[in-house]
């Protein structure tokens, strides 16, 4: 079966096929056992998907949301999402500071390696990328990098770099 036909079977199943093409396909299935069987397998896999009804909102959910909303209205950078909703320039500046700090730490580790200080784990890594990766395993650095991805929502425009969040 060619790919176009397989896609059409899926579209037919989901009600996304134009009616003319849908009629053609149904008519063809009446005379094509293999095609009809393929459609039935697809349908079985699709309709067999089943999940329990979603749990209703717990008592107090709306209240907790509004409590955070009110706090946010008072202080936009407060709460667990403070960093995630900071302006992009602020997050980028924080990330750059983190990299600079790491680089300084590596440099210092190199300077002191011949002295009395013990070699650090950072000093033993082979590259700055590896060191950065090691740090990003931690929750603090992870949040810096993750927030950049987290707020890049397609279709929802990011604030301009010069725009300051209220």
């Amino acid at each position: 079966m060619n790919h176009r036909l397989e896609m059409d079977l899926m579209r037919l199943l989901h009600g996304e096929l134009p009616e003319t093409r849908a009629r053609e396909l149904r008519a063809r299935m009446e005379g094509d056992v293999a095609l009809a069987a393929a459609y039935r397998r697809l349908e079985a896999a699709w309709r067999g998907l089943d999940l329990p009804p979603a749990a209703p909102p717990t008592l107090g959910f709306a209240g907790r949301v509004m409590a955070e909303v009110r706090e946010s209205a008072r202080d936009p950078l407060a709460g667990s999402l403070g960093w995630t909703l900071a302006p992009a320039w602020a997050r980028a500046a924080a990330a750059a500071a983190l990299v600079a700090g790491l680089a300084a730490g590596v440099g210092l580790g190199g300077v002191w390696s011949g002295g009395g200080l013990e070699a650090t784990d950072l000093q033993s890594t082979s590259s700055e990328e590896a060191e950065l990766a090691e740090v990003t395993e931690g929750s603090l650095a992870d949040s810096y990098w993750a927030t950049l991805e987290e707020t890049e929502e397609p279709g929802v425009p990011e604030p301009a770099a010069s725009e300051v969040q209220p």
Binding site: A44, G48, L49, L51, P52, A55, F61, L81, V156
Partner: protein, 206 residues
Amino acid sequence: MSDLPAAAADPGREILARVAAGDAEAFAGLVELYQHRLLRLCERLLGDPEEARDAAQEVFLKAFRKAGEFRPQGQVYTWLYRIATNHCLNLLRRRRLVRFTRLGEPDEEDAAPALDPPDEAPDPETALAARRRWQATRRAIERLPANQRAVLVLVRFEGLSYRQTAEVLGVTEGAVESRLFRAMRRLEAAAQEGGVSQVSPGERTR
């Protein structure tokens, strides 16, 4: 089919306009309108009711802070679903191991209240069959890459059309079809391995 309001009748637009104008308390109306749907979406993407509640709470807070960015000609549900889907997918990507199924002995899973079928289930056999379908579905969905999981949840369980799904995800309809097709191929393979293989009674037509 989707139970989302038509564009012209969507009260969420007015609420977002008021919030953008500084009326934070008005946001309670949006929470009331969409809390059930967003919780359901988050739960189906994340697979855990508790995480879904936390995620939905964060989604609403994001929506509040971004109320001024909502374009009035757009659909509120699209905008909210987009924030929710992206938030959940980012959570999934950041986790090394996706906890979508409750791992453990069958007895433990049977005892988990979240897996109990609704009270309409007439007898224990039906309830058990339903529970097994849910577990098989969760396992199958867990194996999907995040982008395929998103389209599957949006089309199969939220009842969105390809076009609506494309709007939520910010991709083309072709991308939705392609991802859904790949997801379906995986699901078929899983069904043939003895997972999800039967049509459940009272199934939605979509």
